[in-house]
Symmetry: C2
Subunit: 438 residues, 2 copies
């Protein structure tokens, strides 16, 4: 395998730490995909979180930004400084020094992206910013590459997790904005100074970026209309429910005959929409495009590991572009063809899940005992049972059960035994149950 790609990181806080953590934890998987190892060789941080879950053993730690930005060994600089002043300077300096840039800084891109991209293009380096919108959701890749065939008509997104968390709690508990904000601050979902989140500034940064990707217009943060969630009252929440709507804080950009709409504000949306059911700190972006129609992208919009996921996707993208011949930039099956794994495929008998079982039984004493005994003998425990009134013509009852998790061959054995019972007529219907929990 080729030499590792060397990465310098500016800022080792929550997101920087998460990035290093995932890079180390999934090093093998990532190298199998990228065709090269990706390692953080230098990190600039004021102070380290003492309990960090990653190793700094082979990493040069410094408090001098310049030691990273001007280091000739480094291929890619991850900018996680926040803010727009030093971040802008350091990004431009790193570009000047021929470094590729990966950043999660939406304020930087929304305010100075036009300047930064021009500098990068002149220098022939890449600037990647997947983590700037929707946290770990690959929404920038989806809009910029996946929807390249389409004339995009509009985008509506829940792109600020703090606001969505507060609105979700206000609805679930009937609480007031101020009380939920205090709770969100206690839980770490809102910052001590929550202005950027609750006044819509953060969402406006992200919307600025989405609108440019969708419509091919320069970044124009200063033209976004911004309205936060601070004035939403429990009464409004209650009326929205009565009317069949949910209140969500959305970023909306739309192409109209007169121009582009760019607006961030609380919005009533019909209950039935998937977006209306995006709860808590989760993010989701709905894109309406002329060929594809509606498509939606949902996932964690913030947090150390999800944001790390997007940053590393960018690192892999840059690495793939730097490394491989163009014809094989992305391996067909995601992993390099010489790095495919020979994992066994499990026969269906060996899978483990829960089951829905439905059977027709003669309505006589002891049937239920017989059935539950068979289940017990096969170590199958029952989560729920429905037994309806017997059908008066046939004297049969439908018995329905949900089981706890069990290996499939046990269930099949039990079903065979149940079907042998005199009191059971016909076959047992068996449908698998999946909770699909994260």
């Amino acid at each position: 395998m080729l030499n590792p790609v060397k990465v310098g990181i500016l800022g080792l806080g929550t997101v920087g730490g998460g990035t290093v953590h995932v890079l180390q934890k999934n090093a093998e998987e990532i190298a199998r995909r990228a065709g090269r190892a990706i390692i953080v060789t230098h990190a600039c941080a004021k102070e380290l979180n003492k309990t960090h879950p990653y190793s700094t053993e082979n990493m040069v730690l410094t408090d001098q930004l310049n030691e990273v930005v001007s280091n000739p060994e480094i291929d890619i600089v991850i900018e996680l400084l926040g803010g727009t002043t030093i971040a802008r300077e350091m990004t431009l300096q790193a570009i000047k020094n021929g470094k590729h840039i990966v950043t999660a800084n939406k304020a930087l891109i929304a305010n100075h992206g036009n300047e930064i991209f021009a500098a990068a293009q002149e220098k022939g380096v890449m600037v990647a910013f997947e983590a700037a919108v929707g946290g770990g959701i690959p929404i920038i890749k989806a809009v910029r590459e996946g929807l390249a065939a389409n004339k995009i008509q509009w985008i509506a997104g829940i792109i600020n997790g703090t606001s969505n968390f507060i609105l979700t709690e206000m609805r679930d508990k009937g609480s007031k904005f101020a009380d939920v904000l205090a709770e969100a601050q206690r839980l770490g979902y809102a910052e001590k100074d929550p202005t950027f989140d609750i006044e819509g500034v953060d969402a406006a940064h992200k919307l600025t970026i989405l609108a440019s990707l969708a419509f091919g217009i320069p970044l124009q943060f200063d033209k976004v209309y911004m309205e936060g969630i601070t004035k939403i009252t429990p009464e409004d929440v209650q009326y929205s429910e009565e009317l069949g709507y949910k209140i969500k804080h959305l970023g909306i950009t739309r192409r109209t005959d007169k121009g582009i709409e760019l607006r961030v504000h609380p919005t009533f949306i019909p209950n039935k929409r998937l977006l209306a059911n995006v709860e808590g700190v989760m993010n989701a972006v709905l894109v309406q495009a002329d060929a594809l129609g509606p498509s939606l992208y949902y996932g964690a919009g913030a947090g150390a590991l999800p944001t790390g996921s997007a940053i590393i996707a960018d690192l892999v993208d840059v690495t793939r572009t730097l490394t491989t011949d163009p014809g094989n930039r992305v391996p067909h099956l995601a992993f390099q063809s010489n790095a495919l794994a020979d994992l066994p495929i499990l026969p269906i008998d060996e899978i483990e899940t829960s089951y829905y079982l439905r059977m027709s039984a003669l309505d006589k004493l002891g049937v239920m005992a017989q059935v539950t005994n068979i289940l017990m003998e096969n170590a199958i425990s029952i989560e729920a049972i429905i037994q309806k009134e017997p059908n008066s013509d046939t004297n049969q009852v439908q018995v329905v059960m949900l089981t706890h998790k069990v290996v499939e061959k046990q269930v099949n054995k039990a079903i065979q035994a149940i079907e042998q019972l005199d009191s059971i007529t016909g076959q047992v219907t068996r449908i698998r149950v999946e909770m699909l929990k994260g």
Copy 2:
């Protein structure tokens, strides 16, 4: 701008026609993104649909596959033949001739992908197949590139629109499988021979591909456990509702300590999950990954234009890789930097949407007439009104209204006038309403 990229297309049926249609309709937008025009110069088709909405003026039409596959002018071949015999031969032949391949053929990739990818890699050409899974949803790009940081734990997807349509109708109407199938055939959502859809074969093709992308394993279609929806009864649907679940036909692949699960079958899933609310012919894929957590991708899984959208995304990908210097493979803002548009951004006053208005009024005769008069004067029509019992302490009533669509400055003018009324106390709350319909 550079010379156009020349594309030959094998098959001009629904999907082929949709692809050509979108390529022509959005030609300017696509060229601004790709940096080059992409044109179909040759098409092989048995016969053309007479009412096709695209032009064949500058296109060589032939019924000889070889005229496309062996044509030295052509850069990229789109394979839309269906089946796996001729499709495999023609794909391998085109690769041998140095053509890049774009295909929507899941059966081909699931059954012969290993062979095709090896041939392509040897020849240094690209094989792209975004349209093979989830129709227009960029799910292959998401898994293969967007989630490259992650150890993927499992994927569960609604990846056959026909099955999802049938299950949705069975639930909504309490109908039997056979009746809904007949209806789906009438509507064109199910084929005359629906076996591949209703027995899970199509979903198994797609799951095979997703599992390889997720876990880096060779394509192993023969090891997928397949179960269709033909045995689901209205009783099962009804019991699922009573238990708080929906029945969905899922493709599931999971990494376990013992091996990889690969299975396609009807599944009970809890009502609350977003996947449970994916209705009709729509597709959605839920991916659980260690860094990002759960993420979901939703959109049209079939159809001429959505599938065309995915095929063209692949064409743009190939074009970008063929054309640009690696450092600028994908333009920062999706469109080439010299092709950004100077569209005006609309002031918020000029946007048009619906509004929720809430006000406190003194409970006296004529208030409602005054308010509705003001609305009428400003050409605002009302969709719904809620007026509650007056508060006995304050003698005030809350009045809530939903308006139809109107330009925002009209609403603001009306609100100003309403706030001047003696019978209205305090300010009018105004929240925008969006239906978010496709």
